[in-house]
């Protein structure tokens, strides 16, 4: 773990020093895991991530640099933006896995476009169901069926994430074949997330009376 260049205290985040309160603007910008003082890993402890976010936020948040000059306010803005991005990414399993695959030299989504084989058929099936529901009135059979579809997609999403975890824990070596397999699973995850978003939009447009 790095130490503070001003007071030599141990740093919990490269963005600021908890002991002397100095703000840093490291260049290049630290990785999401570095911002939170964590070692890259697919398994994260959400409560610990939140604790670290809050501790670091109390050092770098612009609210606590409001009375200081323009320069330190700008540094606080940058550091907090980096921290918030890190927090969002590390807590989102899909974003986290995507970052890990990239950082280990694995393929990007434009390099590996494939998905697990059985998946394409499923995508076509649920797209049909979505199209039918979109064209029909709230309360119709096509819409009622969406609830079951949503549940099965959520289950599917969980199983894809389990597979991603199997591939990424423990972290594979750089450019290992497991990274391309994980990428294919992440592609499937994107489709699932998109379909779940559309289902939610449909559900919100035809709210159940409360």
């Amino acid at each position: 773990m790095a130490v503070c260049s001003k007071c030599a205290a141990q740093l919990e985040t490269p963005l600021a020093c908890g002991a002397c309160g100095s703000l840093f603007a490291p260049d290049p910008e630290p990785t999401p895991f570095e911002c939170l003082g964590l070692t890259p890993d697919f398994d994260v402890d959400a409560a610990e991530v939140r604790r670290r976010l809050l501790r670091a936020s109390r050092l770098v948040h612009p609210d606590f640099h409001g009375a200081s000059g323009e320069q330190s306010r700008a540094a606080a803005e940058r550091a907090t933006a980096a921290l918030n991005r890190a927090h969002a990414l590390v807590l989102d399993p899909a974003a986290r896995a995507d970052w890990l695959v990239r950082s280990l030299g694995g393929p990007s989504e434009s390099q590996v476009r494939s998905m697990p084989q059985d998946f394409l058929m499923e995508v076509m099936e649920w797209n049909e169901a979505l199209d039918a529901a979109r064209g029909s009135a709230p309360g119709s059979a096509a819409r009622v069926g969406l609830e079951a579809l949503e549940a099965s997609l959520a289950e599917r999403r969980a199983s894809v994430l389990r597979e991603v975890r199997r591939l990424l824990v423990p972290l594979p070596a750089r450019e290992a074949p497991a990274l391309a397999l994980a990428r294919a699973q992440l592609n499937a995850l994107r489709y699932l997330a998109n379909a779940l978003d559309q289902l939610e939009a449909l559900r919100l447009d035809s709210p159940s009376p409360r």
């Binding site: 609210d63 409001g66 933006a81 969002a88 919100l204």
Partner: protein, 624 residues
């Protein structure tokens, strides 16, 4: 509330910051004092400043309570609900424009302008006048302490253009904006501090012109907004409008069609509707009155609460729809909300309370005055920003996704809605033609898939890209949404390290030059307003002095020598005439006042002498 005692010497104004709730209907200032936020208002006046402006025949702009009262006698020259026009273009405000009693136009950058008494005013300038009034009231309450640092609140669902407009208004008012804070978040600060809450909280904020709902998680001083949703064109004004529409329909039989469209008449209807609505919050039925003596129209219509609730049910349904969306984004069900807080004057409507209670399945909190809670929260945030405490950590979100228009007119999202702010994203751009030295892109805010359906934040032009073969330049454009929810865009060409220049054509916004000139004219206006007040005071003072002089002359006049007596009479006549002459300014009036004072000195001395002699001879003063 009385004057607040502050040791002005020990409390230099630089250590004090106000929280200001700049509302659609009312505005209010508050400040941190002795461990809690308090509302600021001078003794004898009630707290808030109505967000109303009256344009007098002499060209002065009167703000606040007086303006609101003048609306009754001169609705054609009084403006309300300016907030609904902030950061908006003409085509966005068609609905609201109908209740504006004056012509509207638009600047080159799409900023609405109100034409009153031969002058054009932008919503930013008018909001600046309201902010100045709130600040003046607060400063008076602080015993004349001058404060320039402020935290100003905005609806959480305000987009970049609306936030920018609010900040510009404060700049025009000569204020230093420490932070733009979201209203529901501010409200949660006021509540959270009071009650040391912990858990998930839904803040339902229905104001005069806007609706917000924010879902927060609160624990140990951390106020984290999980999701926010709303409608910046839904509020008490819309409830009034349903009654106005009924009145218009029923009055159609009694009036000429052109009279029904008269803007001043519509303003009158709006005020009548508002009164009726407010009565219905406490009474089961109320009357709406319209009286137009000059056209012989006397109209009275009874509304029962039942009828009113049915007429406005769709508006409340719209707010609940926003609640559903916010909950979905926060990934929570209504049952998982521990506390519901009501904010904004429109939550006084019983139908709003009961439907919100039913929706969340729990009784909402309304212990704090819904009209004050936002200003109080802003004062808490001002205290934090002045370095007062690190106990409170506020983590707010950006309400709308930020995107760039792609080739086909679709939107590529670069920052998702409900991302914690400050946040940033970097997007790479390159050239399509050899030697191309500029790149244009269009930034939008909103959730729709097509750029034309989203709110345009402006067209950005990257310039100064080094001449390279097509596709070679790598321009990294950084989009940063700061803690105010305001966007800044910077760019750097990575292969050569040169920073690209960005020119922005803001949409519905003011340029720096425009703000500068408005700032100057605001100072000029403030000066003129000050002079006008001073002149009015002097006229009153001259009147009082003249009456006293006359009394003195009748008592002691005979004892004065003739020359002195003529001198007094000349000065008295001149002062009298000056007080009656509307063309004279404060400087001229002051001269006449001083002249009268000088001329009457011998008379005053004589009177004192009389009084003294009378006292010595045992007579009472009133017997002299």
């Amino acid at each position: 509330m009385g004057f607040i005692e502050l040791n002005v010497l020990n409390n230099a104004s630089s250590n004090v910051a106000l929280g200001i709730d700049l509302g659609t209907t009312n505005s209010l200032g508050a400040m941190w004092k002795d461990g809690r936020p308090i509302v600021l208002h001078p003794e004898g006046s009630c707290g808030y400043v109505p967000s109303a402006l009256h344009f007098s025949e002499q060209g002065a702009v009167i703000v606040g309570r007086e303006a609101r009262e003048l609306a009754l006698v001169d609705p054609a020259h009084t403006l309300f609900s300016i907030k609904r026009f902030m950061g908006r273009g003409l085509k966005d405000v068609e609905n609201d424009a109908r209740s504006v009693p004056c012509p509207l136009s638009e600047t080159a950058n799409g900023v609405v302008q109100f034409e009153m008494r031969g002058r054009k005013y932008t919503p930013q300038e008018l909001s600046a006048l309201i902010l100045m009034k709130v600040k003046d009231q607060a400063c008076k309450a602080l015993g004349g302490l001058e404060v320039t640092k402020v935290v100003v609140t905005v609806p959480a669902y305000f987009d970049d253009a609306q936030r920018q407009a609010t900040r510009d208004a404060a700049r025009i008012a000569g204020l230093d904006v420490l932070r733009i804070v979201n209203e529901p978040t501010a409200a949660s600060l006021a509540y959270g501090l009071d009650q040391r809450k912990r858990g998930t909280v839904a803040v339902y904020d229905l104001g005069g012109g806007t609706f917000d709902v924010s879902i927060l998680s609160i624990e140990e001083g951390v106020f984290q907004v999980l999701a926010t949703n709303g409608d910046t064109h839904l509020g008490g004004d819309d409830f009034d409008r349903t009654l106005v529409e009924i009145a218009r329909k029923e009055l159609a039989a009694l009036m000429r069609p052109s009279a029904l469209e008269d803007r001043a008449f519509l303003q009158l209807l709006r005020l009548a509707a508002e009164r009726c609505k407010i009565e219905l919050s406490t009474d089961p039925e109320a009357y709406m009155h319209v009286s137009l003596p000059e056209s012989g129209v006397q109209w009275r219509r009874k509304f029962t609460r039942h009828e009113y609730d049915a007429l406005t049910a769709h508006l409340i349904e719209r707010t609940l729809h926003s609640c559903r969306r916010a909950l979905a984004d926060a990934k929570l069900a209504p049952e998982q909300i521990d506390e519901v807080v009501l904010v904004g004057g429109s939550t006084r409507m019983p139908s709003v309370r009961s439907r919100v209670e039913k929706f969340f399945g729990r009784k909402p909190h309304c212990e704090l005055n819904p009209d004050e809670v936002v200003a109080l929260g802003a004062a808490v945030q001002a205290h934090v920003l002045m370095g007062g405490t690190r106990e409170v950590l506020l983590m707010d979100v950006t309400p709308l996704s930020l995107g760039i228009e792609t080739m086909g007119g679709a939107v590529s999202k670069i920052i998702q809605r409900n991302s914690t702010i400050p946040c940033q994203a970097t997007e790479g751009f390159t050239t399509y033609v050899d030697g191309q030295n500029g790149i244009d892109f269009h930034v939008v805010q909103g959730e729709r898939e097509l750029a034309t359906d989203c709110r345009s934040l402006g067209r950005f032009k990257l310039k100064g890209i080094p001449a390279l073969p097509a596709g070679m330049p790598r321009v990294a454009v950084r989009f940063h949404i700061d803690a105010n929810g305001l966007l800044t865009v910077t760019a750097k060409e990575e292969s050569t390290g040169t920073s690209a220049r960005i020119e922005i054509q803001p949409m519905n916004g003011l340029s720096d030059g425009e703000i500068e000139s408005m700032l100057n004219s605001a100072y000029r206006n403030a000066r003129e307003d000050f002079d006008a007040r001073r002149a009015a005071d002097l006229r009153i003072e001259i009147g009082t002095m003249a009456r006293a002089t006359e009394r003195g002359l009748s008592q002691a006049g005979p004892a004065l020598d003739r020359e002195t007596r003529r001198d007094v009479e000349d000065a008295l006549g001149a002062a009298r005439r000056s007080a009656a002459d509307a063309r004279l300014d404060a400087v001229a009036l002051q001269k006449h006042r001083d002249e009268l004072e000088r001329a009457t000195l011998p008379l005053a001395a004589l009177l004192m002498d009389h009084v003294a002699k009378a006292a010595l001879s045992g007579k009472r003063l009133d017997e002299v």
